[in-house]
Symmetry: C2
Subunit: 511 residues, 2 copies
């Protein structure tokens, strides 16, 4: 850990303590277990580079999109084959009562410890017109200041890093050795619609029994920052709710049943205006802070330890670079970097992801729309829960005369949080330390993944995201994964694969 | 005029005066001129019924849509041929500096009086998936309680009634006689985008000179109500402004330059929320009344005469039937029918015709959109003007911190108003009286047409909409025109054509 942080002396003492702890851990882990004979594994990874990239490209070429019902059966079959090929001995399909099947696989390596792997085999929708290379091609292109990157839907979210973990398993297989831990894989196909059936899938008795034996669960994640290669170890992630707010003349009992000529606005109520007025009550006038009645009732403030962790992050993360990468000139409220990162971790959000009403084509069309829709996502922080927040939203709308507006929840789940002192987090930090990669520990990812299914009862395991390398553009055009790095601080594909090899050994050795 | 109106005695006196005036006028007009030898003309219209309907269907099959740049040259050529075929002696194209050409045609019949005809040869966009029969086919289908209707884009707005006027001219031609008035036709192709170049077209010296000779200008309009066959003679029409409000990270200097992962909402401003907050300031909380600073500064209240006219309309128009036809259960504010019709005439409107931001497809997509658009139309009443209203909107937004939101005006024009005592309106009322059709005089249409180009300087002519028959569904799916009427109070196609024959004679005789 970097002790050249420009934090205040008092804060430095706190961080130094944390840093020393990590360093000591890393040394212990390396001393106790290390990664035996990595040379052969590394040679295997290098030799199979093209095979591994081809495996990722083939997967990207088959986008499973739950929202569109696209490539469901094919996605399950492909994920099943990927698991078999990587050496999983049992691979089966778990079908929820409704929704899309998951793939459940186990690999018994006769080890003492077992690691859970969470994969998602689905991806977000995409519009090829917005991409600089075809989103299903996985083309490898030069990117200035980075090296070679692979562009494709799923490159970073999440097929890319998942393919790295599979590549690590292939390296064990090719060199004729067993991974140092047993593995349990659960791969869902509905992550991008808010994992509506994942809790049910995980509570399937055989899946639950397998997960209960784990030392923790990770989702592969290329977590290095592009400039300094810093890895942010997230101790949790925000929860999420995705929903549509639908205002319609039909449900309202006012406004038109079908689109009318807009001259009638003089005498006919407008569902579109009704929706706009309802939306405006959900957030503060600057659009930045939830204003739903009681929204902060269960929101926990940051602890002093969490603030100290964020201070360390603020010192190590490159604000200017991150802003440039995001395409953002100012953060909300023109706050300091520390305040911004505190807000990123601690603030629940209400975001408009889409608006659709009336005529949406080129030019205008003078209609009074019968229906208006806002697509909303909300991010939740501990100790908010999805169910309580949905209830609060509905009560808030009803109280203000918007009870007719439909709240159609399509998915979502609670926040997830894992103890900084768990074996899983220790193994993550140790792996970084052995690789000489600077880490920051961040209270929680501002994004979401359904880790709560693992961290809450009945599984009750530590869970986190982990991995080296770099990728970006999740949900956006030109999503990419770094393949060959021109920056020695950021690992390319093969080195990131080796990171997973080392991580499996750390899991075997830690705790 | 129906003097069985349940209006109060005092009001009845007012209306009776108007009614008597109209009746006297009608008798005079009929006595002085009438329509000589209508039998031959009527026989010609009847004999050519299929030809006239085919002419309309062929026109509908060629949709000119300015917003999409669709069938511009073909639309001009078709309109040119329609004018030539109907007997116009000079037909030429008038090209504005920017935009789509108009067709200017004259027919010198050696008459004392000249009537101006305003045609639009363009139509609104349409989505065939929403129609019960193909929108370009002009299929004739049975409609319960009405008779046979022709379904197609432009059936009522405006090719259908324009084709009736052309059919009337063909009847004169076929029977070897000249229409009793000279005609000046100006047909534009940009009405549906707000006639952005029509003032320039009309001020072309030769067009202006021709129009200055007219006794007034009409746009053909099938103005009979479906139940009682009542004709509402509109003394004017609201003005309109069509515009897009565009919020973007780029212009704002806050928010993302391109769509971001929505987890960044915690720290990045949202153009979509910015737009929602701005929109909410434009109207009262019920979405029904403009709240832009100074919006009512130039709005003229209804005069006592206008209120009396509306009272007559309220008595004669069938509220329940109109609501059912609109697909509306309640009007704004649960007002009385009289109050509703006053509001329809007198209230300026701000309507959301479309909302587009971020992800608009099925399901959700967790993006923070870089751009959000509201498509807005505003209806203006006397003495509001387009330019003043656009300036007020911009000032209102700027004052509230929304000055970055682009106000992209795509078209529009001022309201139009014509004197109730003008020769044009007198001829309209006389034609109705001769046909035994009940009339109401309504202060102004809640919709818009660019009549202001004629009623304001330098043309300064009376202008109005006129015609018999019935059509509905302008801008909506299944737009239709009544062809064969099963209701004796509402005229079918051929009788409506004869209405124009009679109207031309009334113009010749009136004044």
């Amino acid at each position: 850990m970097d002790t050249s942080s420009p934090a205040s002396p008092a804060r430095r003492d706190v961080l130094r303590g944390a840093a020393l702890g990590t360093t000591a851990l890393a040394a212990t882990a390396a001393g106790a277990a290390g990664t035996p004979d990595t040379a052969a594994l590394r040679a295997a990874v290098k030799a199979d580079h093209d095979v591994n990239i081809k495996r990722l490209q083939d997967w990207i070429a088959l986008p499973t999109i739950a929202a569109e019902g696209r490539n469901i059966d094919q996605g399950v079959a492909h994920m099943t084959q990927l698991a078999r090929d990587a050496g999983f001995q049992t691979v089966e399909t778990i079908k929820p009562a409704k929704g899309i099947p998951a793939v459940f696989a186990t690999m018994d390596n006769g080890a003492k410890k077992t690691l859970g792997l969470y994969f998602m085999y689905d991806v977000k929708q995409f519009d090829p017109a917005e991409w600089s290379s075809p989103p299903l091609e996985g083309r490898i292109v030069d990117r200035a200041g980075m090296g070679k990157v692979l562009i494709g839907r799923g490159a970073t979210n999440q097929k890319g890093p998942e393919s790295m973990m599979l590549a690590a398993l292939h390296a064990f297989k090719k060199t004729g050795r067993k991974p140092p831990v047993n593995l349990v894989l659960i791969a869902e196909g509905e992550e991008e619609i808010g994992s509506p059936n994942f809790a049910e899938i995980v509570r399937t008795p055989k899946v639950l029994a397998a997960l209960k034996k784990c030392s923790g669960v990770i989702i592969p994640f290329p977590s290095q920052a592009p400039g300094n290669g810093n890895v942010s170890v997230n101790l949790g992630a925000k929860g999420v709710i995705e929903l549509e707010l639908v205002a319609s003349g039909e449900k309202w009992g006012r406004g038109p049943a079908k689109d009318l000529h807009s001259s009638n606005k003089a005498i006919v109520d407008s569902p579109a205006w009704h929706l706009v007025e309802a939306l405006a009550t959900l957030v503060t006038p600057d659009g930045n802070t939830p204003a739903i009645d009681g929204w902060f009732e269960h929101v926990l403030p940051l602890t002093p330890r969490e603030k100290a962790l964020i201070a360390d992050s603020a010192a190590k993360r490159d604000q200017a670079r991150e802003m440039a990468q995001m395409g953002v000139k100012k953060f909300v409220g023109d706050m300091t970097w520390q305040e911004t990162l505190e807000r990123l971790a601690a603030m629940p959000t209400i975001n408009i992801e889409g608006l659709v009403a009336g005529y949406t084509g080129p030019g205008g069309k003078t209609v009074l729309p019968a229906r208006a829709v806002a697509k909303i996502d909300m991010r939740l922080v501990p100790a908010q829960t999805k169910d309580d927040c949905v209830a609060k939203l509905k009560a808030h709308l009803a109280k203000r005369g918007f009870g007719d507006i439909e709240v159609n929840v399509s998915g979502g789940y609670d926040p997830t949080q894992t103890d900084e002192n768990s074996a899983l987090i220790k193994a993550e930090l140790a792996t970084c330390a052995r690789a000489g990669i600077q880490t920051t520990v961040y209270p929680r990812l501002a994004g979401s993944w359904p880790g709560y299914v693992f961290t809450s009862a009945p599984v009750s395991q530590p869970a986190g995201q982990f991995g080296f390398g770099h990728g970006s553009g999740a949900h956006a055009p030109d999503e990419y994964l770094l393949i060959e790095s021109s920056n020695p601080k950021v690992l390319g594909y093969d080195d990131a694969v080796m990171g997973y090899v080392d991580f499996l050994h750390q899991i075997a050795a830690t705790g």
